[in-house]
């Protein structure tokens, strides 16, 4: 009775040919899902643009922040260092010291302000001249005001200069007038967190947009999914075209975001550089680096794939033959 079952014969697909068929099917699905997107160009373009905007916003903020960082490094150079001299240093020594400091390679200028001068300035600026002239002794020390000249690559330059100045004879203390720079750094810290928050929110938006788009395309291909499951398609097989759809959406969104950002930066770079040159700084707007560009596009791809995966795992199980 028991004839040899034909099932042995039909499942005689070798591992090797199955491997190459697997790759073949991936290629087929990749091409097919791209073709489907291009077959509805208007709808796909809309989705791509929305994704591009969502992807480019945090990147824009990031690029802006990077530029402010670079700019603030430029401004470090114009910051001032006050070198307070010990009390009772004779003005002859103070003048010599000022000349010595002015000769440092990374100092642009050094000016000595004597205690008398300082007191005069102080009384003028505060209007407390009566009080001050009532003092027996001038409480103010002599100060050498130093303007450093640092190159912007050298981040520690300022601190090294400070240490060098502190080690000099007659010097009591050295103070960097960096309070506003510190504030700026605090703001940038805040800005950086804002970038992360925005990136997280918009990343979520990208997931939702892709998820919804994929959900619609699953709806549209209900019959096909049913038939595929009926003739023995595994979940991975059914999922594949949709994952590729998500991937293409993400890739397209990433590339368009990159183009938008590049155009925006190009458009802004002229005016911004002009504006900053008014403040005597030579500054060139930093664009998207290679790794930033890659990151942007890669993020798009990952989010696209993930969004599709979430949508597919949620909706595919509801379709049974």
């Amino acid at each position: 009775m028991a004839k040899p079952s034909a099932s042995n014969q039909q499942s005689r697909v070798t591992m090797q040919s199955q491997g190459s068929a697997y790759i073949q099917h991936h290629k087929l699905m990749a091409v097919d899902s791209l073709k489907r997107l291009l077959a509805a160009p208007a709808a796909s373009l809309m989705t791509w643009l929305v994704l591009a905007i969502a992807l480019s916003l945090p990147m824009t903020l990031y690029v802006a922040l990077e530029n402010v960082k670079q700019l603030s490094r430029n401004w470090d150079q114009s910051s001032q260092i006050s070198v307070y001299l010990k009390k009772g240093v004779m003005s002859r020594f103070a003048d010599e010291l000022t000349a010595e400091i002015a000769d440092f390679p990374n100092v642009s200028s050094a000016v000595y302000i004597s205690p008398e001068q300082a007191l005069k300035e102080f009384s003028v600026s505060t209007g407390l001249s009566d009080v001050i002239f009532g003092l027996d002794d001038n409480p103010l020390p002599g100060v050498i005001s130093v303007i450093p000249r640092l190159n912007s690559q050298d981040e520690n330059g300022l601190e090294q200069l400070q240490q060098k100045l502190e080690a000099l004879r007659h010097v009591d203390s050295v103070q960097l007038d960096l309070i506003w720079v510190k504030r700026l750094y605090q703001f940038m810290e805040l800005g950086q967190r804002l970038v992360w928050a925005l990136a997280a929110l918009l990343g979520l938006a990208v997931l939702l947009i892709i998820g919804n788009t994929i959900r619609l395309s699953i709806e549209n291909r209900r019959d096909e999914i049913r038939v595929v499951k009926l003739v023995g398609g595994t979940d991975a097989f059914v999922r594949r075209p949709f994952l590729y759809t998500g991937l293409w959406f993400g890739l397209g969104g990433g590339i368009i975001a990159w183009i938008l950002l590049s155009i925006g930066l190009f458009w802004l770079s002229g005016p911004v550089e002009q504006l900053i040159s008014l403040y005597g700084s030579d500054f060139s707007l930093k664009g998207l680096g290679f790794s930033d560009s890659l990151l942007l596009i890669f993020d798009g791809v990952i989010l696209g794939w993930l969004g599709a995966w979430l949508a597919v795992s949620r909706h595919l199980s509801t379709i049974e033959p």
Binding site: S7, Q10, S17
Partner: protein, 228 residues
């Protein structure tokens, strides 16, 4: 070993409707049989149980000796690949050619292009549609569409073919041709179970008939009953 065996199977759908009740029968390896009964008798439900599109509420369904209740969800696709199914609403995909419709089970099973083309052409040749492989199934007549569905069911060389009303709205001549195809597959050792209420057609052919009534076995007629 029986190819398909129902052992006191009951099936109630959510909502409480009892579609099959205490049903036992066997389909032997290489046997061809008809399943008949009034509308709502449970014919489609029976076939769905074999395909694991539904699960039995009570009792056991065995295919090739495997208890289907024990088949893990991840294994269901592999079970389905060993069974060819044909439906009345042929379930063809109209966004692709006849060739691609028939090729679908092979793509799923992991065939490479060359093997795949050879097998698809062989299946299409068997149902007489080789010349229409590039057309969209929507351009074909009802009978031709049904034959595309049959080609798709047999392209993977299943050992068991299930057909649910395969001749539903075809004229008697076309219906006869379709049944002829099933006979051919049966002739090379494939087990075939056809659900149909076309009694005229069934009576013209000499195969075992399993009758259902309200989800219960309502009498069988063994093969050889027509002429005998």
């Amino acid at each position: 070993m029986a190819h398909v065996r129902f052992d006191r199977v009951s099936k109630s759908y959510p909502g409480g409707h009892q579609a099959l009740t205490d049903l036992s029968f066997e389909l032997a390896q290489g046997e061809m049989a008809f399943l008949t009964g009034h509308s709502g008798a449970g014919k489609s439900t029976l076939l769905k149980l074999i395909m694991l599109m539904e699960k039995a509420s009570q009792g056991q369904v065995l295919v090739d000796g495997v208890n289907l209740a024990r088949v893990a969800n991840s294994q269901i696709p592999y079970h389905r690949r060993r069974v060819g199914v044909v439906f009345q609403n042929h379930q063809l995909l109209f966004d692709r050619s006849v060739f691609e419709n028939v090729a679908l089970p092979l793509r799923i099973s992991g065939y490479t292009s060359r093997d795949l083309e050879r097998r698809v052409r062989a299946a299409l040749d068997k149902v007489g549609l080789l010349s229409k492989e590039k057309q969209n199934p929507i351009e074909l007549s009802g009978g031709e569409q049904q034959r595309v569905g049959i080609a798709r069911a047999v392209v993977n060389k299943p050992s068991l073919i299930l057909a649910d009303e395969p001749t539903g709205n075809l004229d008697p001549k076309l219906s006869g041709e379709i049944m002829g195809l099933f006979e051919q597959f049966n002739g090379v050792g494939v087990s075939v179970l056809v659900a149909s209420h076309d009694l005229a057609l069934i009576n013209r052919m000499d195969y075992r008939v399993i009758g259902l009534n309200q989800g219960r076995l309502a009498g069988e007629r063994a093969a050889g009953g027509v002429r005998g």
